[in-house]
Symmetry: C2
Subunit: 225 residues, 2 copies
Amino acid sequence: MSTYGQFCPVAKAMELLDERWTLLVVRELLAGSTHFNELRRGNPRMSPALLAKRLRTLERAGVVRRHDDAGRPVYGLTAAGEELRPVVEALGAWGVRWIGELGEDDLDPHLLFWDVRRTVPVETWPREPTVVEFRLDDVERAVARWWLLVRGGEADLCDVDPGLEPTVVVRSGLRVLTRVWRGDTSWEHALRSGAVVIEGPATARRSLPRWIGQGDFARVPRPAA
Amino acid sequence: MSTYGQFCPVAKAMELLDERWTLLVVRELLAGSTHFNELRRGNPRMSPALLAKRLRTLERAGVVRRHDDAGRPVYGLTAAGEELRPVVEALGAWGVRWIGELGEDDLDPHLLFWDVRRTVPVETWPREPTVVEFRLDDVERAVARWWLLVRGGEADLCDVDPGLEPTVVVRSGLRVLTRVWRGDTSWEHALRSGAVVIEGPATARRSLPRWIGQGDFARVPRPAA
DNA sequence: CTGTATCCATGGCGATACTG
DNA sequence: CAGTATCGCCATGGATACAG
């Protein structure tokens, strides 16, 4: 962690927080991840060594607290860490407004559905077990099919067929689905244009946009221009 | 600018903003600096080459706009740049609350008085030209004496004797004065303890804390512990 | 005053493999 | 599952000098 040689609170904060990946680890903790491999899943391109290093730095800084739960390490935010929420929210709100273009490299089905799974409003789903199958038509076959399974108030994500008949099937391109999730476009618009197609019983088809919802920053209003 | 391979708005924002110095340049622009050397003054440890590079990156990203004013380059924030104010404010508020300890290396009289000069509430000062001399007793002589000169609604900073009789003289250590400025301690407490001493006519002595005031993040409440 | 040009050292970090 | 260990590259950025 290198220094700026400034007493300014912004500079002191950035000495810790401007290191690569640091704030994305905090974002994962704010989103509720607690175990090492959960944090890895939220940041798949981060090497485990680097994640371990960042966690220790954050712990030393008083942002993260690590404790053991029956021998298993658990990471959580301290009060100081929890107070980074406004920082992360301000960054996300700014990012969704002003960094709209996504490169091919920014698209990742695993990250998308991982985020969907943990954000999905399960309370709006039917009481009976419900399976939504996603079929991405513009990615390699190995990552083209995903299943979101909601039952008993819990959401599960599978990348292999869970063997249950899907209630609805969603056919889409990865980019479009990602843009809908970010709120760059609406479910309504994506469906009307045919970029996203939902197959299944009429009521389920109509309900699906509300079942899935959108990501945390989707409701941030966009610049007029 | 390296990438994270994530569509998350926080990640997209950080691809731009987590590069070293970037947000401190934005901070300076938010504070009103417009010329290259003003930006350097606010970040004296940044090399000019790097500042130029950051400005160009920010320009490409649509955060900074550069235009010429009678042949002289002027930098300013776009709408996107101006909207980084909440981000910088959230970072500063967090930093002043949770990164309280300042190393010796964080103390810099030039940065301190540069910040004082541009923040000072000139409207509270007397109408007649007023000079405050600062004498730092714990730094090398070359940077131990500073003069803040307010007249005609303008504040000027000198590091050499301006030749005007000072209205008040403030004697202090650099660390204490920095802590008062950041709001880590109050003027009242610093004066009562004798860590800061004000010399001059009684009315001016009593007025000085309000003349100088405190830095932008000083009023952020601190953690109870 | 507003930057460029050049050089160089460092260490950050990505990749991979491996261990308790 | 939860990390260490090791390696090596190359980009970052610090320092300095210089130019329009």
